[in-house]
Amino acid sequence: MKQLLTHTLIGAGLSLAMLAPAQAQNPTPNDWLCTGKVGGTWTHGRAPSACDGSAFGPDSFVRGNYAPLIFNDALNGTPERKRYMQELYATMREATSRYLLLRKPDAGAEEMASFQRGVFALLRQESFWSHYRDAQLAAGQPYALKSMRGDSGHGHGMMQLDDRYHFVPVGQGKGWNLMQNFSYSIEIFYDGWKKAPVSCLGGATSGDAEYWRGRSRSAWSAYNGGPTRICRWQNPADANVGKDNGYRDNYDNRLWLTDVADLTKATPIDVACLMDNGSQCPLPTSGGLEPGKLLKVGASACVLVGNDIECVDDMRDAACLGARASFDASQAVTVYGYEINGRKRIDHNRHQLCRAGVDGLQALGSAIKTSADLELRASIDGAVTATLPAGTYQVLDFELRSPQTQARYYRVRHGAVDGWIAAGDRNSHAAIASNATPLAAGTFAYPGEWVAVATTSNLNRRATPGGTLVDSLPNGTKLQVKELFVTASANNLYYLVEQNGKAGWIFAGNLYPASTLPNWVVPTTPPAVVTRHAHCPPGTRYDIQLRHCASASSAYGPFTAAATEQCAANGGGAACTALRGVVVDGRALQLQVWSKAQAGNARGNGDCPRGAERSAAHRFHCVEPVLRNGVAEKDVYGPFGTTLVNACLAGQANAAFCLGNRWPASAFLALLP
C-alpha cells in the first residue's frame, strides 16, 4: 500500500496518529530493520516473509495484547490456520464495524457489509491475513515472534503499510502493531471508498451489489496504486490488471471464509482500546517483578539475578534456574514482557543450564547405568507402565523437579516402551543411575554411529548448529555422528557429522514432546571405508557426558586447565597432573588418566568441561583460554575425526597432540578446510 495519507482522521473515539502531509518516496532499503527473516507459504497467516518485530516494539506487548492473533508455526497445519483465522476474522469484523460507525455513524447495514467485505478482500489480497507469527529461523531453532513483511520487506503487516511512503508511521510502530496497522491503513482504503467517482463505478447506482463491489474495487486500486489510480481496475490494459483482478476474485469468492467457522464469534482482544490508544492501551496486570519469585514470561520460566532476568524457554525447566538464583518454586508469577524490557535478558539453553547446575545430571543422548529395577512411568507423574530392569539405557530427556532437592527424572526406552524413571536427588542419584558406556545402539545415534539423510530435500550442513551454511546433503547420504548438541525444551538435536572431508552440524529433529527424528536422519550401516569420529584409546569411546574418551572406569585427558585445578582442589593429588602411558592408534602417548568419578567431579557437569565454552569461531568445539608461559592461548577440545587427525599428523610433523583430545587453537584453525 503506497498511497500517502493526506488528512488526519478526527473521529469520535478515534485517536489515530497525526499524519504527515504528502511527502516524497523515502529511499528505504529493502528489508529495512528486518532481522531474523523467515519464509512461509501463501496460506492464511503464513505469508512467505516475516521478520523480527522487536525492532518496532516489544514482543511482550504483542504477546500481552495479541496472543490469540499469533499464528503458531509449531502447530502448523489446518487446525492452527482455522483457529488463527477464526480469531482474526472476529477481530477484523469488529474493527471494521467500529471504524465505519465512527467514521460514518449513519452507514447502513448494506454499506457496512460491503465495506467489511472490501476490507476482508484487501487483507486476503495484501497479506493472506498474515501479521504475527511464531516461527523458526531454521529447523531446530526456537520459535520467535515475527511480523509479516512483503514487497522486499517494504510492506509491513497485514495491511502492507509501505515504509517507502509511510516511513515515519512505520517507525512509530504502525506497521508492527496490528490494530495500529489496521487503524492507520484503513484510513487510506476508506478514503478511496468514500471518493470513488461515479465515473469509475461502471454505471452502478447506490444500493446495487455491483455498486458496492465497484466502490471496493476503486478503494483498493487507490489503496494499492495511489489516489490518482482509483479507477485503475476498470482498465484491462493497465499493467496492474492482474492485481486488480486478484482483488476482484478475492472479493467475489470471499476465499477467507474457507478458514472461518463462526462468523459471529467475538474477538478475543480489546479492539477498542488497541485501536484508540495504540501502545498506550493498558497492559495486562502483572503478578509483580520481584527477586525470589519464579516468573512466567510468555512460555518462559525466569528469575531475577541482580538486575538481569534469566530464563529458560519452558516452565518445565524452572527448577534448573535454581543454579542462578534462589526462588520459591511453588508458584509462578506471571510477568509481562513490558516489565522487563529495560533489563538484560539471558535465555539459557536447558541442556547447558540444567547440567551445569545439577551435579550428576546426565546429558540427553548419553548412556546411564541403572543399578536396580525401577518403575517406568508414562509421564513423570503418570502411571507405572512397566518395570525397567537394571541395565544401560540412553537418556532421551530429563527433567528436574526441585531446585532444592534436585530430584531428577530421565526418559528412557525399554524395548518398545518409552517412559520416565525417578533417578534420585542430589544425595541419592549416584546410587540409582550413573554415566555408563553404551552397550548397544541407542534410540538415536551415539557418537561414532552412522546415520543416513532421510529428508526428501537436501539437508543443510552448517558450521555451527543453525549457523552458517556449509553445504547440503542429499537424501541417503551416510554420515558418521561425531558429536551431538541439543537446544531448547523441544530437545532440538544437532549432530556434528563428517563427510567428504568436511565437518558440520546437521539438524536431526526434535525429541519433545514427540520425536521427529525419523523425518531427518535414520540409523544406517557404516560404509565400506570407515573413518573414526574420535581417536580414542582402544576399548574406549568418546563420551558425550564427559566430552572425553572414556572406558567404564577411566576418563582420558588431556583435561582443561580449570578441571585440572579443580582436581587438585578436590584432593586428587599427583594424579591430577600425572601423565600416564596410553596408546592411541599404536602410538604411546602420555595423557592424564583419571577415574570417571574424579573426572566428573573435576570437569564439572556443564556442556563443556570446566573452563571451556563452545566457540562459534572454532566450529562449535569447546575451547578454553589459557595462559601458557605468559602468553594467552586457546585450547580446542575434540573429538577430532580421522580427516582432521590425519591432516594434523601430516602437517604437524607427527606431533603427539594430534592423537589427543586437545589441540592448540592455531593448529586446529589452520587445518579447517
Binding site: G573, A575, R580, V582, Q590, V593
Partner: protein
C-alpha cells in the same frame, strides 16, 4: 687345541662376557638356550623380549601359559604384587610408594625391577639399556596382573616412559615370559665339563710327560 690355548680362550671369553655387563646388569646372566636369569629376583626371563609381537592381554596370558621353552612349562607374564604388601594401589607416584606411576624399582614389580634395577634404565629416557635381551621394545608390555578396579583392565608397563599403570585388556601390547627360579646353564655346564676334562687331561699329560 693345546691345553694352554684352551685356557687362554676360556679366560678371554669369560673376560669378554664380564666386560659387556654394566654394573646394573650384573644380576642378569645369560643362561643360554634363549633364557636370562636374574640372580637378584630369582627370575628367569625369555631372552627374546618380543617373540610374539603385539597381543591383547588375553592372548598374551594364553601364550605365556602355553609356552614351553628350555624344558620348562611354567612360564607366565611378569606380575605385580602390592608394594604395601596388602593390596594394589594404582595411584600415581614417582617414588615407587604405590603400584602406579614411575620408579617401580622394587621386586614387587617384576617388569619394573627388570627395567630400572636390573637393566639400569630411567623413566625419562625409556629403554636405553637392553642388557642381554633381544628385541626389548621401547613401547609397552603387559603384566599378568589384573586391575583391582576394573575387570576389563590389566596392569601394563610402558618401557618408553618407565610407567606402570593399567589399560583395557583389548589393547595390543608386547609381552615377555618369565618363570621363577634358575635354569641349568649350558655354558656353565659346558665349561664345567670342559674344565673337568681339562683337569683330567692335565693330569694324564703330566703322567705321560713324565714318561716323555
Amino acid at each position: 687345541m693345546s691345553p694352554r690355548k684352551f685356557w687362554t680362550t676360556c679366560c678371554l671369553a669369560a673376560a669378554a662376557i664380564a666386560a659387556t655387563a654394566s654394573p646394573a646388569q650384573a644380576s642378569l646372566v645369560d643362561r643360554g638356550n634363549g633364557m636370562i636369569y636374574d640372580t637378584v629376583s630369582n627370575l628367569t626371563w625369555l631372552k627374546n623380549a618380543d617373540s610374539q609381537g603385539l597381543m591383547t592381554w588375553d592372548v598374551a596370558v594364553s601364550w605365556a601359559d602355553q609356552l614351553s621353552h628350555g624344558g620348562f612349562s611354567d612360564w607366565r607374564l611378569p606380575g605385580v604384587s602390592p608394594v604395601n604388601g596388602l593390596s594394589l594401589n594404582l595411584a600415581y607416584s614417582e617414588d615407587g610408594s604405590t603400584d602406579g606411576g614411575i620408579n617401580q624399582t622394587g621386586l614387587n614389580s617384576e617388569l619394573g625391577h627388570l627395567f630400572y634395577t636390573s637393566l639400569g634404565n630411567q623413566a625419562a629416557t625409556g629403554v636405553t639399556q637392553s642388557g642381554p635381551f633381544e628385541a626389548l621394545q621401547n613401547y609397552v608390555y603387559w603384566t599378568g596382573t589384573e586391575s583391582p578396579y576394573d575387570p576389563e583392565e590389566a596392569l601394563h608397563f610402558f618401557t618408553i616412559f618407565g610407567e606402570q599403570g593399567s589399560s583395557l585388556k583389548v589393547n595390543e601390547y608386547h609381552a615377555m615370559a618369565v618363570r621363577v627360579g634358575d635354569v641349568p646353564e649350558p655354558a656353565t655346564l659346558m665349561l664345567l665339563l670342559l674344565g673337568l676334562g681339562a683337569v683330567a687331561l692335565t693330569s694324564r699329560r703330566g703322567k705321560t710327560g713324565e714318561q716323555a
